[in-house]
């Protein structure tokens, strides 16, 4: 098994062998006026709605703390709960498969679909299957996967990449969606009406009619799950559109690919998350559709059920004492919606199906920090803390970001593929390391610091508008501050703490 790059979620931009580092991708995004407008509108709207939905709940802080504890408990005893899930699902008539990485998961799912003799599947929106690139893997086996979530459909028809966890087409506006429907739907099935406008009702109706044929024809459904209840082996999918309910009940065979961190011990634990998840993600008190199923039931729903439990870097992440809290994530995307960096850079800049603050701590842990994008993600934050504030399971994202910066800049021991390995510092941090060490030395010698300050004061008249080299990153958009005639400490000493001046 490879030790890094376990499954490359999504695809790099056209003509690029791999994703560019975050600052490079963001450079173009911040200049895309339409993208900025779409994102600003969408994130500010959902941000305000979420704040209202959360403010209604008097015991929100307690629910958040309970969510944190339930997840931490489940993760600490994951070995036990995973075995419990396998026993319960098997007893209820399902079959459990274990996938160490993306490749293995894809191979298992493709094999299961082929065994049915079918060439197409309908899909419930699922982050796990995005993460492993399942659609592309199925395509390579001659199996067509139809996304049935409205936003995923827009992304799939537009040959695009998702840019948000909950609203994968958040970067598109109505006009763009209409254009995609009109030009692409006929390639995949029922075409959009020729006179389709960009009103939400018409767009939704076009999607509904297009998807209905797929729902009624499909013999195999593929899903993820928001939660797996260990005590009974029950899977839970929370959704808004009803497409999930169709995919989970109509096909004869259902295959669910679920990350091993999705386990909660008991049904009672759902009480917490079914309150915090909808309010955090769609700002709804309760989501329209909550589907729960336990194995198979004669005469009701799929007759064959497979659960593929996916590791793909999760056990390695669990081994890290600071970083493991990222596994508490319930994929609500509240952190994306409040993030000022996400709002301006857009989801694609994160080079992963997990964008935004949570993506910046999840991707470099699941995939490792070797690639340019993964080594740059921990720095894709101003550490403003808005993400931590809204997280319904209290993931201290800034803490993990700083922890991962240390891993990138300094290297150190990590777990990859179940083995302890020592990482070398990432490339490109040499000058920074020297500068940090020099600054530490100067700050350890106030005399040296003072010498530097006085030198600066002496050359204060020379205040360039632009700096060369790395300094350009500052002066490209901002003027430098004026240097004072003397640092504070000189004034303090010269005037005996200002007393000379006050006389």
């Amino acid at each position: 098994m490879s030790t890094t790059d376990l499954g490359m979620p999504g695809l790099p931009p056209p003509g690029r062998p791999e994703f560019p580092p975050f600052p490079e991708a963001a450079h173009d995004a911040v200049r895309d006026e339409r993208l900025r407008g779409n994102l600003r509108h969408a994130t500010h709207t959902i941000r305000a709605k979420r704040a209202r939905a959360v403010a209604e709940v008097s015991d929100w802080a307690e629910l958040r703390e309970a969510g944190r504890r339930i997840k931490d408990h489940a993760l600490r005893h994951l070995d036990r709960y995973l075995v419990r899930v396998e026993e319960a699902v098997t007893a209820a008539g399902g079959t459990v498969h274990w996938a160490a990485d993306a490749e293995e998961a894809n191979r298992i799912v493709a094999g299961l679909v082929k065994a049915t003799g079918e060439r197409e599947v309908v899909k419930v929106k699922s982050m796990a299957t995005q993460e492993i690139g399942l659609n592309e893997a199925l395509e390579a086996e001659g199996i067509r996967a139809y996304e049935t979530d409205l936003a995923e459909l827009i992304v799939q028809l537009g040959k695009d990449r998702p840019s948000h966890i909950l609203v994968p087409a958040i970067h598109r506006n109505r006009g763009e969606i209409r254009d995609i429907f009109r030009s692409e739907m006929s390639e995949w099935g029922r075409p959009a009406p020729a006179d389709l406008t960009d009103t939400p009702a018409e767009l939704a109706e076009a999607a509904r009619l297009h998807l209905r044929e797929k729902f009624l024809r499909a013999k195999v459904g593929i899903s993820g799950a928001n939660f797996v209840v260990a005590e009974t082996g029950t899977l839970v999918v929370v959704e808004s559109e009803g497409n999930g309910r169709m995919c989970l009940t109509l096909p004869e065979t259902l295959i669910s690919v679920v990350g091993i961190e999705k386990i909660v011990p008991t049904w009672r634990d759902l009480e917490v998350f079914l309150q915090t998840l909808p309010r955090s993600s769609t700002a709804e008190r309760m989501n329209p559709y909550t589907s729960m199923w336990t194995g198979t039931t004669d005469g009701d729903g799929p007759r064959v059920f497979h659960l593929v439990l996916l590791d793909n870097g999760r056990t390695d992440t669990l081994a890290d004492e600071v970083g493991r809290q990222a596994l508490r994530c319930i994929r609500c995307s509240a952190c994306l919606n409040v993030c000022p960096v996400y709002e301006r850079a857009g989801g694609h800049a994160y080079g992963s199906v997990y964008p935004g603050p949570i993506g910046a701590i999840l991707s470099p842990q699941l995939r490792g920090t070797r690639s340019a994008i993964d080594a740059s993600l921990p720095y894709a934050s101003s550490l403003c803390g808005a993400c931590y504030e809204v997280c319904p399971v209290a993931i201290d994202i800034p803490e993990v970001l700083v922890h991962l910066r240390e891993r990138v800049a300094q290297g150190g021991e990590v777990t990859r593929g179940g083995n302890r390995v020592v990482l070398r510092p990432a490339r490109g941090h040499g000058a920074e390391r020297v500068a940090m060490r020099a600054a530490r030395w100067a700050f350890g010698h106030p005399g040296a610091l003072r010498g530097g300050q006085r030198l600066a004061a002496r050359v204060r008249r020379f205040r360039p508008r632009t700096l060369p080299g790395p300094g350009r990153a500052w002066t490209g958009t901002r003027d430098l501050p004026a240097l004072p005639a003397e640092p504070f400490r000189d004034w303090w000493q010269r005037t005996h703490g200002g007393e000379e001046e006050e006389k």
């Binding site: 550490l383 403003c384 800049a409 700050f443 490209g476 004072p484």
Partner: protein, 251 residues
């Protein structure tokens, strides 16, 4: 009460006026304030950029320099949060890495007695009217580490509202980060600049003459953006507003 001013390396080097303002303000309120000359930097930039081990000796120096004071006051929400929030973590991690509890023991006493300036005024001195006079229209930007790290809440606004002559106007999107973020400003310059420009535009829309905040690092970024965008506003640290009086007005 023996109070030490922890000015921060940025203020010491670039913004001595802010330091002088804090001294003047605290003396006016009857506080005996000292500036221990051995102080340098809290180590925040090192820590937040991923150089925790380089931050440790700076934290230890801080603990030693300020050990004997009853209170440590700093005109920076960000450096205040470094001490209060992150110093305990530094000590814990050092111990977890098998390097003993020396760092933890040096840091433990200074953590609870470190106050950001507005916190010290409102919570310790229990004043909101500091006798200031500042006849200008001002909008206030709560900086992230003061707002979310230290939980300063409405303390700065209460202090500003009590300043005679000052007209405080709401800043739209006040809680949003200005985009400075320490080394973020140069590691992600495009996003940082976009955030700064949006903040400046919001500030300009208020019609205020002055953008006030409690962190000069954020104001350095915003002030640099303002002058590059040729706006007519100016950035002013809250200490300079609170220190200003009719007899001794701020520039």
């Amino acid at each position: 009460m023996r109070v030490a001013l922890f000015l921060t390396c940025v203020n010491d080097t670039l913004y001595p006026d802010t330091g002088r303002a804090v001294v003047r303000l605290l003396r006016r309120l009857g506080v005996d304030v000292d500036f221990p000359m051995a102080q340098t930097c809290c180590g925040q930039a090192h820590y937040n950029t991923g150089y925790r081990h380089e931050a440790e000796p700076l934290a230890r120096r801080f603990g030693e320099v300020f050990a004997d004071y009853e209170a440590i006051v700093t005109p920076s929400g960000s450096c205040g949060a470094m001490v209060r929030e992150l110093y305990p973590r530094l000590g814990e991690r050092a111990r977890a890495e098998g390097r003993g509890d020396t760092l933890e023991r040096v840091l433990a006493p200074v953590v609870p007695k470190t106050y950001e300036l507005t916190e010290f005024l409102v919570d310790v001195l229990e004043v909101t009217d500091v006798g200031a006079y500042y006849p200008h229209t001002v909008t206030y930007h709560p900086t992230c580490h003061g707002l979310r790290g230290l939980g300063l809440g409405d303390r700065p606004r209460r202090l500003l509202q009590a300043v005679r002559g000052l007209d405080l106007v709401e800043l739209p999107g006040a809680d949003e980060c200005c985009g400075f973020g320490g080394t973020f400003a140069v590691k992600n310059p495009d996003v940082s600049a976009a955030m700064g420009a949006d903040k400046v535009r919001n500030a300009e829309s208020t019609g205020a003459e002055v953008l006030c905040a409690g962190d000069n690092s954020c104001l350095m970024h915003l002030g640099g953006t303002m002058s590059r965008l040729r706006t007519r506003m100016r950035p002013v640290h809250i200490a300079e507003i609170l220190a200003s009086t009719e007899e001794d007005p701020a520039a």
